[in-house]
């Protein structure tokens, strides 16, 4: 070891000072930085520290239920279970995924790959299995300690205990998209991804049903795990306000009976309403859909059956589709005739199977003819020749006046979205589309063919107006909905009375005799809507009881003229049988006696 001091002590002293100054300067930088962080910005950082550990958590407001007129549940809130991944748990979460896969018997690689993807792209917990079955949920809960990074959440889920029944009325739910959330979601108190009404009453009465989301503050650590609060004051909460429930005018028993009678293979629609006040008792569109599908994870088959189905189950045939009303329009022509001076006993040239106009035959459905008929008889037999002549005599202007009074060519104003107006050809209409109007056109209009188009809802209300001899109530689905009830002034009650008698004859001696139900008097009118694309649609309008009408019905069954010409009659008869079970009426019995 070399001994002795190798440098002079003065030089050493100088170097020692230099090193000391250097050390001091270096550490002074740290002190200055500390001064900046802790003294100058201390309060800001304190605020950040507080905010980070307190997180605002939204409590979803329970959505209001939807009930039928008797309090049966159509839509309620169930629970949905989801399995989540927390990206903060990193590689651990992937290992947990592999473990979870081995517990529940899934391909491990696939699952851990998905977790890796989630981990790369997100910072807060993400749903790995949305809407998992309860078994998976309980497995995850049970193995919680062995599965770091895997969690679970329970959320509200809309459920429809009656499934398909009434789906077009009740509607369905869908998740708020990112776009919608940005546009109005936050202002209206939604959270991103919350379910919102997408169809039917769920959509129309969204604000009424939704309620107000609440919020609470939770102490969370960096893993987003909820910690026990050290200070209860930290956990102020803002309780949610539950949504209001909605009671409908629908009678689930009638609705279900009709849907059952129709089955899900046909395309059909039916509206039954109380003509005295416009309460809709049943509104059916077939094929229907199961609204529960929308709040679960949809399978490809389910998606295809909803969106790629040529029968379009989401399409509400009762209000969104229009049909040529066919012979059901003969009451309209009859009423127009009665208002233009014709009477019940007015007769025209007798029916020999066809009526010649402008050198061209206009045929009756019965090729060997009906002979000579009066007005009620012509209604009962649905004689075209009679109505060709009546229509021609009445003229378009009188006819269209009656049509407008009976609510055609304009929406009824039902509380559903998407109702169409239909089409009632008027003088103006012909001027605009054909540039001319010839009296020959009137012949077709008079029997409900030609350019007439009406929705089943319009037809139901039309029958209701006839049944009540002029009460024109706006159809509605919500019980307490105050809808306007008008009186038709252009048509006198006496005219209605004649037409009603004609409709009664339809079931007693006319085209719908099979509709008779012992002990009850039913008035009806059959119809056939010509369909240029295929087999004609069978229509039926009816009301009952004859003496004191409390139900008016319109029904269409598509493409059934040859297969089952009585399809519509059978369905409405089934509805009436069910109806009389729950709504007995003494007046009908009195009339019969």
């Amino acid at each position: 070891m070399p001994f002795g001091n190798s440098s002079e002590s003065g030089d050493r002293q100088r170097r020692a000072w230099a090193l000391l100054c250097f050390s001091g300067a270096l550490l002074l930088v740290l002190v200055l930085r500390l001064f900046q962080l802790q003294i100058l910005h201390g309060r800001d950082y304190l605020l950040i520290a507080e905010l980070t550990r307190l997180k605002r958590v939204i409590i979803e407001a329970p959505r209001g239920s939807i009930l039928d007129r008797n309090g049966e549940i159509l839509a309620e809130n169930g629970l949905s279970y989801s399995i989540t991944v927390d990206p903060h748990d990193g590689v651990q979460a992937e290992q947990s995924a592999t473990r979870l896969a081995s517990i529940v018997g899934m391909p491990a690689d696939e699952l851990s790959e998905r977790v890796r993807e989630i981990r790369k792209r997100n910072r807060s917990p993400v749903k790995l299995f949305k809407d998992a079955d309860f078994r998976l949920f309980s497995i995850v809960e049970e193995h919680r300690s062995e599965l770091p990074g895997i969690g679970s959440v329970i959320e509200q889920r809309r459920s429809y205990p009656n499934g398909r029944t009434g789906s077009h009325v009740v509607g369905y739910m869908g998740e708020l998209t990112q776009e919608e959330f940005g546009q109005y979601g936050r202002e209206r108190g939604y959270y991103y991804g919350q379910y919102t009404g997408r169809g039917g009453l769920e959509r129309l009465y969204e604000h009424w049903l939704k309620g107000k989301n609440g919020a609470k503050f939770q102490m969370k650590n960096y893993l987003n795990r909820v910690m026990e609060a050290q200070n209860p004051e930290d956990i102020k909460s803002d309780p949610p306000e539950p949504g209001n429930s909605l009671q409908l005018t629908i009678d689930l028993r009638l609705q279900a009976a009709v849907e059952e009678a129709l089955g899900d293979t046909v395309c059909a629609a039916l509206v039954a309403l109380d003509p005295r006040n416009g309460e809709v008792l049943a509104l059916v569109s077939k094929p229907s859909f199961d609204p529960n599908v929308f709040t679960h994870v949809m399978t490809t088959a389910q998606f295809d059956s909803l969106f790629r189905n040529p029968q379009k189950p989401l399409f509400n045939r009762a209000i969104q589709a229009t049909y040529p009303p066919g012979s059901t329009f003969k009451m309209l022509t009859a009423l127009a005739g009665l208002e233009s001076g014709f009477t019940e006993s007015s007769r025209f040239n007798s029916c020999g199977g066809a009526y010649y106009f402008g050198g061209r035959p206009f045929r009756c459905w019965k090729s060997d003819g009906h002979g000579s008929l009066d007005l009620t008889g012509a209604l009962a037999q649905s004689c075209n020749v009679y109505f060709y002549q009546l229509g021609r005599s009445v003229g378009l202007e009188n006819w269209q006046k009656a049509g407008l009074a009976l609510g055609f060519g304009q929406p009824t104003g039902i509380d559903l979205i998407g109702e169409v107006a239909g089409r009632l050809p008027t003088t103006e209409y012909y001027k605009n589309t054909h540039r001319y109007y010839s009296p020959g056109m009137m012949l077709n209009l008079a029997i409900g063919q030609g350019e007439n188009d009406a929705t089943i809802l319009q037809l139901a209300r039309y029958v209701g107006i006839i049944a009540t001899e002029g009460i024109k109530a706006t159809p509605h689905l919500v019980k307490d909905h105050l809808s306007p009830v008008e009186r038709v002034t252009d048509i006198s009650p006496a005219s209605f009375e004649v037409v009603k008698r004609g409709m009664l004859k339809v079931t007693t001696e006319g085209t719908a005799r099979s509709m008779q139900i012992p002990g009850h008097l039913i008035a009806a009118k059959t119809g056939t809507a010509q369909n240029p694309h295929g087999e004609a649609h069978k229509l039926l309008v009816a009301f009952a009881p004859y003496g004191n009408p409390s139900i008016a019905v319109a029904c269409v069954v598509e493409n059934t003229e040859k297969k089952n010409a009585r399809a519509a009659i059978d369905v409405v008869k089934r509805l009436f049988e069910e109806y009389f079970k729950y709504y007995p009426d003494t007046s009908t019995v009195a009339v019969v006696q």
Partner: protein
């Protein structure tokens, strides 16, 4: 004999108390950190207290070792450590993304921690010979080689923090060994030049580099070097400054990204940047007086990973506030000050140089660690001496304190 040594009048008692005080703060802070949600076990502070006892025992043991043995074994120690470092390269185990550990039976050792001690002793021995005094640029080459080989191995692990320490301890030692300040400046200048021009570092860009070039020109003007020498020095610096951005620019984008996150992990907000942000929030939220021991809610909620090891200083900041953090820094400055005073008073060049080297290691450790916690330095995973929880670094620090005290007791011998 032990007592005689420990109560020797040349014993640096103030330094001993400073170290013990820092260690106690360390145990307290590890206790706070282990209350955290994300800690696997909460008895870290007991283990840390145990490490404190081990450290003191090791330091006392080293005080007893005669200086001549230390001197005699210094090259051997260097050789053994170098071999261990090579072994890490071959059979090392991974920890925190890089190979740093060597499994020796049940214990895992980090040879790079002990390599620091070995380098100090070997350099001190080499430069204690008058003929090896670094009085010219040429004579710096051999001491530089002492650093270079371990440096390359450590860089390959990759462990940026330790390689920075290796590099940094050379300069105080060669300065202490006799290199004049002018040469020292021009040795450090190209490194600084490259750093100032680095486009991937925070705050540095061409502007800082131009400023630095003016400084070099000024120093050159007063250096009275010959014109060719001046040109060579200036050229080296300009080359270093220009080469860094160009070399960086020629890299593929993923390579650039890798370097950027290696040097400046704040660029990766989910990774180390998250850590830095949280440590700044933790320190800042402490304010002047701090939230009180055990009341550092931010740390306890588990927002800070590695709170008990590399980020222990953020708990000091949160719980003890500005008063506490400045006190800890002052204690370190005091230790360095006493160390330099010891080095000044030792006649023997080997011991004196070693003490300066030890002080340098402490200084840079503190700067790199605290700078990282405060967001001034890249996240390099260097622990804070005496406070951080951990094995190898605690032992290495204890060895260095032991050596410092040993040399202070024997300052008038030889």
């Amino acid at each position: 004999m032990i007592l005689a040594r420990i109560f020797d009048r040349n014993m640096e008692r103030g330094l001993v108390w400073a170290v013990i005080f820092l260690m106690l703060i360390g145990v307290l802070m590890v206790h706070s950190a282990s209350q955290g949600e994300n800690m696997a076990s909460s008895d870290y502070w007991v283990k840390q207290a145990l490490w404190m006892v081990i450290s003191i025992t090791v330091a006392m043991g080293i005080i007893l070792v005669p200086v001549k043995y230390i001197y005699a074994l210094s090259y051997v120690f260097y050789g053994v450590m170098f071999v261990l470092l090579l072994l890490v390269e071959i059979v090392g185990t991974t920890g925190g993304g890089s190979e740093r550990w060597l499994a020796l039976g049940p214990v895992r050792v980090q040879p790079s921690e002990f390599m620091k001690v070995a380098i100090i002793l070997a350099l001190a021995r080499y430069m204690s010979f008058k003929k090896n005094r670094p009085t010219s640029y040429v004579k710096v080459i051999v001491p530089g080689l002492f650093i270079l080989f371990p440096l390359l191995l450590v860089l390959k692990q990759p462990d940026l923090g330790t390689s920075m320490i290796f590099c940094a301890l050379l300069f105080p030692m060669i300065y202490w060994a006799g290199l004049d300040s002018r040469r020292l400046f021009f040795l450090v200048a190209p490194i600084l030049s490259a750093v100032f021009a680095a486009p991937f570092l925070p705050w540095f860009n061409w502007f800082t580099w131009v400023c630095f070039m003016f400084l070099i020109l000024g120093v050159l003007y007063y250096s009275r070097y010959s014109l060719p020498a001046m040109g060579a020095i200036l050229g080296t610096n300009i080359l270093a400054g220009i080469a860094t951005p160009i070399a960086f620019g020629r890299l593929k984008s993923y390579q650039q990204e890798r370097i950027t996150t290696f040097i400046n992990p704040e660029a990766d907000p989910l990774g180390a940047g998250y850590q830095i942000l949280n440590s700044k929030v933790a320190v800042g939220s402490g304010g002047i007086l701090g939230k009180g021991v055990g009341k550092g809610t931010y740390t306890e909620m588990g927002f800070l990973p590695k709170a008990h090891t590399d980020f222990i200083f953020s708990i000091v900041g949160e719980e003890l506030g500005f008063i506490g953090t400045v006190a800890v820094i002052c204690l370190f400055l005091y230790i360095i000050y006493r160390g330099i005073m010891v080095a000044t008073s030792i006649r023997n060049q080997f011991m004196s140089l070693a003490v300066v080297g030890i002080c340098g290691v402490f200084l840079f450790h503190v700067y790199i660690n605290v700078g990282m916690v405060l967001g001034l330095m890249p996240v390099t995973g260097k622990s804070l001496p005496f406070l951080s929880y951990g094995g190898s670094s605690v032992l290495a620090n204890a060895m260095m304190v032991g050596l410092l005290l040993n040399f202070s007791v024997n300052r008038h011998d030889f």
